[in-house]
Every structure is written in C-alpha cells, then in structure tokens.
C-alpha cells in the first residue's frame, strides 16, 4: 500500500507499522480505514488518555463513570441521572446550522443509549467578536441549529453560556450537554454480550454523509477546511424523536442486552466498542445495512456518520418484538450481524470477508503519545504585567454600563428565546439564572444543571482556569440550593502535538482534578476536542464543566432576583485585589493579562456549604455568586432578575475598581429577610466563612457607595435596557 493512502486518512508511518504488527500482515484498504477512524484523536484519545487518568471518577453515588456512552449518578428513590457533554466544534465552524444540530442529536443519543429518558439540553458556546459578520453568521447558524434539533425533539434547552473572544474567531466552540433520567433497574450499557446474539441496526438509512468526520475533527482548521463540508452530517430530529420513543419502549419491555449510538465513526465504532467492552467479537454483513444511496462500498458503509442510527444487541428471541416496536414508530430495524466469541470485528459483504481485525486493537491498542510539555512563551510576560498602575476610571456608573453592554455579560435572551426551554413542563428555573432547576415529577426532588468555563482564566493560568471552572459550576448549583454531585467535561484545546498545548492541557486537567476532589464532584465522562486552531493559531484553552446537582426538597430552592423591599444583603466571602483576567480589565483597559483570581478550595467548599444550608433552612430569598464582572455586576444582575434595586455600602482599603470589579472566587451575595440576618451571619461564622452585611434591598435604583462615597446610582430600567439590547443590537447589524 502506498504511504499516501494511509497518510491521507490521518495515520502516521509508525502507526501503520503498528497495525501491521498487530495483524501479522498488511491491512487491506477497508482495514486501514477502520484503524484510521478509531485511532483518530477524536475516537482514540491518543494525546489525552494518560492525562485524563488524573481525574477522580469515583464516589458512592456514581453508578457509571467514564468509558460508557454517558455517566450515571444516583439521585435516590431508585432513580438516576444520566448525562454527558460533547463538542461539535469543527463541523460547526464550516456548517454552523447542521454542525450544531447534529451535535445535539449525537449527545442525546448517548443518553437514551443507556436506557434513560432525555430530559434536558445545555450548551456552552464560544464565538469571535460580533462586529465581524462571519462570527455573527456562525452564532446565528449555531443557535438556529440547536433550536431546530432540540425544539423538534421536545427537549428543553434549559441553561448554557456564551462567551466572545477573538481567539475563537474561525474556530467557534459548540459544546452540547444532554441530561436524562432513568429508573436504575432500566440501565443498559453498550455491551455486546452473549455469543450468537444478533446485532440490529435501528433508525435511519445509511448514506455517504459524514465519512471521515472523526478524522476531520482531529486536524486543524485551515483554508482547505471548506472542502470538508461534505464531512458534516445532516440531522433529522423528527427521526431521532421516533428513535427515542422506540428505544425507550424496547427498554421498557426489557428486550435488549445493550445498545449504542452510531456517532463518530458510525458503524465501525459502535460495533467494535460494544464488542470490546463485553470481550466478544462481532460479525457484520454490510450488504444487510439499509442504504439511502446506491453503489456504496463496504468502506463507505462502515465509515458513514449518517445520523439517527442505533446498534442494538437484542436478547435472544426478542428480535421480532423489536421490529414490531420500531415499525410502530415508523422505523426500520434490521439484523446486520451477530455477536461472536473470537474477539474479532469481522466485516462481510455478502459471503465475502472484507475486513477482520481484533475489536480491542481498534479500541484499546490505539497508540498513546506523551508530548513534551513546555510553558508557553507568552505566559511569563502576561502573568507578570503590572496592573497596579492602570488609571482609575473617572465615572464608575459609565464603567458598569459598559460592562453590562459587554456581550460576555449582557443578557443572552437573544439566544435562549430561540430554544424551547419549557417543554416537558419540568423547568422550574430556566435560562438566565445561576443554574437551571428541573422538577422530578412524582417526587419532591429537583435537579440543578449548569455548564461553566472561562477560557480567559485558562489562557492566563490553565491550572487555575480548570479548577475555577469546577468551583464556579459547583457554586452555581449551590446558589440554587443544590448539592453538586458530579461533572461531565468538555476539554477544548489546540493542537496537542505542540508542547505548549500539551502543557496547557495537563495543567487544566490538574486544576480540575484538584477541585473535583475537594468539592466531591467526580468526573463521569466527557469529551476532548483538540486541534481547535485556525491557520496555526490556537483558541484559548477552554475546559468546560457540565455539572449536575440535587435539591432534596424542591420547595427549598433559591433564585437570584431580589424581590423583597428591606431584605438585607450579605456578602459571603472576601474580595481580594484580583483583576487579572477580569472582564473589567478586558472591557475598560483592553487587556487580557495578569493572573486569574486565586482559589482556596477549602474556603470555596465552606462558602458553598454555608449558602446551601442557609437556603435549606429557608433563610434566604435570593442568592447569586460573583463571577465575571465582579461584585458590581453580580449586584446589577440580581436587581435585573428581580423587582427591586438596593443601596449598598462597601468599605475597605482596596481601590474602588478592585473592590467593585475584582473577580475573586468563593463569593456569594445573599438577600435575607431582616429577621434571618443574625442566623445567616452565625451560620457563616460556624463554617469559618467571612460574611458581612453590605446593604439593603429596595427602590428602583442600584446605589453603591464605598466608604460613604457614592460610586454609582443607576436605575433598574436603564440597566435593563443596556443589558438586554446589547446582543440583539449587535446581531441586527
């Protein structure tokens, strides 16, 4: 075989040699294709596997950790939550609508593959600045694509985040997370157990779309990327809705051993992964696969990433019933092969064997690369920039106006009003708050969901950025009254073959790992997305954390809006002079520099514990954490989310801009009725957490003074106008 053939599929010379060694012979063309997709970075995690081992994955409530279609967490009463996040960055960069839509479709299939009823979608998005028409086109397409798919499925998109930075121009990030609920007895895993059992393909017909999509996701974007447009799949959410209902009916009747969705690398990955997990083999006859176009080769059928397909291993004798259920839902269900005992993935076309390779060679023997790690040259200068000489703003009201208008902080209503976030009538708190809250019908419980990550922090210090992503997600859940239980992570980085990117990745995972351990939120799965580079320029390293929490009694939940005149405002936590990496620094001084805020995880845990206990004891009417934009923006957001303003009196020696806009971690502003004030302060003392009364709710204005000196006085109406109109005005250009 000419080296050009396998190189074009993304394999290196060494990898090709290793394949020859494994097989004891030269692979044929089809076999090279199988190895190329399964050993791609996207499927094989060859640059991330050793580092991912650092993450904690266990806790008594974790029922399923990484390695399956999705993670599972116990929520009591015999129920469990199933959740996972995944990226669809590359497809979205060249075909935003279908790229984002199929991203949603794929992650939802991972949820019902475990037997769970999907109940919610979240998304974490990054774009370049909106003054560039290309970025507006990407955002418009991505949001419409998510809406198209999620709305049609009848799944509420309940929370998310959107940030803008030039580093994402040309390489936007589209991370979609899906959440499902299941009775633990119904949990199924992607195992092809039981030699002789059938392998059934259920759902859409197979076409030529998406061939080598996984390989595409494993290379940098460049001028030639436009030619990859045919590698982007096309979504059919209507068919997926039918597929969900059919698969859940099949689960309900206990008809299968396991199932798996056909995502990246399609039939190839689903068959070899199911076999490898069970220690079995699988024989597939591609001639039996229903197609939507003529003349497809075995190679094309195997690598097609046509959407809305599932691979099922039925219990013996259940095949006919499965077909009947699928027929009811208007879907095809076809036996395309069987489970074998020899550990081989054997592909036939009619009577002829066209490929035969050990299943585990594809899944487990993928080479692993340890790239030398090197501190990026930019860091030293950026981290040590002297920020103390920056001029103090003359007009703090104007600074707050500019921050509220910054697309990173402005209302994301333009985005989420395109998503049906209410369908299923479980959304108790939808987008726009610290975390979404869903009720669990038939119980008194609530689930809290959030997704968080700050690429700017990670750029300036990936270890801190990783840790803060976890801490902030947990804080957001605590602010609605939920106990954080576990995470799914989407790690978006540049080219891992570059030592600087390898360093960023290692540091970020180290930071996440540290925070996960202290906050007791193990990792249950996730996704690594490398090669997020355009013309050699990497995005900010962007670890994104999706987190799930439980509210034992949903009546004891909390929102962030102030609603009671006379409520006392208590700041839990301490403001330090930390404007490095802040939104203030970027918006007002045009700088992305300094060190991100420090994070004391023991303090973080204590603050969150204080907040949760105060909420559970019914002492709190509103809670909101201080994040991007600092205390001043947190106060404004609570005023905007509610119905009253406040008068706030801060004291201290810090420069006013530091006091107002520092993004120090582990801080939450609570609104409490006057009668509860002492109890909340006592609770904080008991937990060893600093807490101070900083003001009182009331009126239509947000008035902030420092050491008695007025800083700003803005009306809720004016702030709302600025905050709500910012993104629509930019998008209307």
């Amino acid at each position: 075989m000419e080296p050009e053939v396998y190189r074009q599929m993304g394999l290196t010379d060494t990898e090709f040699e290793k394949i020859k060694e494994i097989l004891g012979r030269a692979p044929n063309y089809v076999e090279v294709g199988l190895f190329a997709v399964m050993w791609s970075e996207h499927c094989g995690y060859k640059h991330s596997r050793p580092v991912l081992q650092l993450l904690p994955t266990e806790a008594p409530w974790v029922l399923q950790g990484p390695g399956e279609n999705a993670g599972i967490i116990d929520i009591g009463d015999g129920q469990a939550v199933v959740f996972k996040i995944e990226s669809h960055n590359h497809p979205s960069a060249i075909e935003p609508f279908q790229g984002a839509a199929t991203g949603v479709g794929g992650i939802v299939r991972d949820i019902f593959a475990m037997g769970a009823r999907p109940i919610a979608i979240l998304d974490s998005l990054r774009f370049g600045p909106l003054d560039d028409p290309r970025n507006r086109y990407l955002m418009q397409g991505v949001v419409a694509g998510i809406a198209f798919y999620g709305n049609c499925l009848g799944l509420p998109t309940v929370a998310g985040e959107v940030y803008f930075d030039p580093s994402y121009s040309g390489n936007p990030l589209v991370n979609a997370m899906a959440v499902g609920i299941i009775d633990q007895k119904d949990i199924r895993r992607g195992h092809a157990a039981g030699v002789g059992n059938a392998a059934m393909l259920v759902g859409a017909r197979t076409g030529r779309d998406g061939i080598h999509g996984a390989t595409f996701a494993s290379e940098e974007l460049g001028e030639a990327s436009e030619e990859r447009r045919p590698s982007v799949q096309v979504g059919d959410p209507f068919r997926e809705k039918l597929l969900i209902e059919a698969c859940l009916d099949i689960i309900k009747e206990d008809l299968i051993i396991g199932m798996q969705d056909m995502g990246a690398a399609g039939l190839t990955s689903s068959s070899c992964e199911m076999a490898a997990r069970a220690g079995t083999g699988m024989e597939i006859d591609v001639a039996l696969v229903p197609r939507r176009e003529e003349g497809m080769t075995a190679y094309e059928v195997l690598l097609s990433e046509s959407q809305e397909r599932m691979l099922l291993v039925p219990k013996q004798g259940a095949e006919a019933r499965i077909k009947a259920i699928c027929q009811h839902w208007g879907l095809e269900a076809v036996i395309i092969g069987r489970v074998t005992g020899d550990g081989f993935l054997r592909i036939k076309e009619g009577g002829q064997v066209v490929a035969a390779v050990p299943a585990r060679a594809l899944t487990d023997q993928c080479p692993v690369y340890q790239v030398e790690r090197r501190l990026p040259f930019y860091l030293d200068d950026l981290q040590n920039r002297d920020l103390s000489r920056l001029p103090e703003p003359a007009d703090y009201g104007q600074v707050l106006r500019r921050l509220l208008a910054s697309p990173n902080l402005a209302s994301k209503e333009w985005v989420y009003r395109q998503y049906d976030y209410m369908v299923r009538t479980d959304t108790v708190a939808g987008p726009g708050g610290d975390a979404a809250v869903l009720r669990v019908k038939g119980t008194g419980k609530g689930l809290a969901l959030t997704v968080d990550g700050n690429g700017r922090y990670s750029y300036l210090d990936p270890e801190a950025g990783g840790a803060i992503a976890v801490a902030e997600a947990a804080r957001n859940l605590s602010c609605v009254g939920a106990r954080p239980l576990g995470i799914t992570d989407c790690l978006n980085f540049g080219n891992p073959e570059k030592p600087e990117v390898a360093w960023q990745f290692y540091q970020a995972v180290t930071g996440m790992s540290r925070a996960c351990r202290v906050l007791q939120t193990p990792v249950t799965g996730g996704n690594v997305s490398f090669y997020n580079e355009t013309e050699g320029e990497a995005i900010y390293p962007t670890p994104v954390v999706g987190m799930v929490g439980l509210i034992p009694d949903i009546e004891k939940r909390c929102g962030m809006g102030w609603g009671q005149e006379g409520d006392v405002l208590i700041l839990v936590g301490v403001t330090l002079p930390e404007i490095g990496g802040s939104e203030y620094l970027a918006v007002v001084h045009g700088l992305v520099a300094g060190r991100p805020p420090s994070l004391n995880l023991e303090r973080e845990a204590a603050v969150q514990e204080t907040v949760r206990q105060a909420i559970a004891s019914g002492l709190v009417t509103a809670a909101h954490d201080c994040a991007e934009g600092g205390l001043a923006v947190a106060l404004a957001e609570s005023a905007l989310a509610g119905t009253v303003g406040a008068v706030v009196e801060l004291a201290g020696d810090l420069r006013p801009d530091y006091l107002l806009f520092s993004e120090s971690q582990s801080r939450v502003v609570l609104a409490v009725p006057p009668a509860a004030r002492e109890r909340v302060l006592a609770l904080a003392r008991e937990k060893g957490v600093p807490a101070a009364v900083i003001g009182r709710c009331g009126g239509e204005q947000l008035i902030v003074k420092i050491n008695g000196c007025p800083m700003f006085n803005l009306g809720r109406g004016e702030m709302e106008q600025i905050w709500r109109q910012s993104i629509p005005a930019l998008m209307a250009r």
Binding site: N151, C152, R417, D420
Partner: protein
Amino acid sequence: MKFGVIVFPGSNCDQDVYHAIGSVLCQPIDSLWHGATDVSGYDCLVLPGGFSYGDYLRAGAIARFAPIMPAVIDFARAGGLVLGICNGFQILLEAGLLPGAMRRNDCLQFRCQWTYLKVENNTTPFTGRFHAGQVLRVPIAHGEGNYYADAETLAELERKHQVVFRYCTPTGEVTPAANPNGSVGNIAGIINQEGNILGLMPHPERCAEEILGGTDGRELFASLVDWWQRGDCLGA
C-alpha cells in the same frame, strides 16, 4: 369528563397535556395514537404541540392526513369539543376546521417566551372561568405562529367574536410591541362559529401549576370541565 390527547409522530407536548389534565385537573385522559380511527367515548379531544411528522413541509400539513383525522373531523362537526394547542392549532387550520393559515414568525426565528393574552370572548366552553378583557400570562414556543386570514375572513371572525385571545401588554393593551410573531390583529387563538373548536398558539399546559410560574392555563382546562359538568350544550 373524558379527554383524549392525540399523539402524532413528532408530537412532543402530548405528555405535558396528559399531565396537566390527568394529574393537575385529575380528569380521565387517554393518549390516542394517530393510527387510530375511532374517537368515540371522549368528551374532548386535544391536539397537542410539537413537530408532527417533523413539520418538514409546513407545520401541520402532513398531520392533517393522519389516519385519525377523519374521525377527529367527524367528532368536531358533530359538536365535540376540540382543543388545538400550538402544532395542534396549525393542524386544525390545515384540516380546515378553523379558518386562516400560519406563516413563519415575522422575526424568522423560533420564539419561546411568556406572553400576555387578552380574553376577548369569555362565553366559550374554554374560557368560562375568565372575565371579559382579563389578561392572562401564558408561554409560547413556536416558529410558525404568525396567524393570517384575508380581510373578509378576519372581518367575519371579529364580527362573530371568534377571536378568543389576543397578544397584549401586561395591562391589556393590544399593541404591535406585544405581538411576538406578527399575527394579524395580534391573534393568539380563535374558535369556530359553532364554538366547539378552539385553536391557540400559547401553551396552557405549561402554566397549570404554581411551580411552573403561573396557573392561568389550568383555568382554561377547568373552564372546560365546568362547562361539561353544567351539561351546557352548544347551540341549545
């Protein structure tokens, strides 16, 4: 009072309607598969929201040909109570049970948000619990809710008080700014001349419980139950 909620492939608010009527209103309710051809024994049929058949051609355009639709049409023509919500409203228009048509929202985007509705006719079986002019708060979620009827049809709808709900401001003013989708006359819901078939774009099942942010929707369903329990008969 026995309800039936029709499930088309792609319906996705059927379970929400089932919950609101079955668990909140505590009325008997069955799911009816689109392949069924018999709807006898039901006092009210609900066509729920969603994307029947994917809405790929035009919202509701394929569902109107579903096997169950002849029975639904017979049921409706015989005076049976029919409620079409969102996609259900679109299907009723396509089936010719209500006049007019839907266009894409004038903003050309999907819209999910709370809206205010002015009750224009409280003498229907669906609105007895409201007072005339009352302002309700009910969410919408649709991409094609831009109701259209020609001038003649519109004039007749107005004359015969068939416009039941209009989008309005929180204080009840019917203004262009309060219209989320561009529908003519801010129309959110209409009823047939006989008064037994209501179609509306907003989702009453999404505001039938306090925990979801409002209960105005529950009152719509409760109006139906009141009406039925009183034994009122249309046209009598």
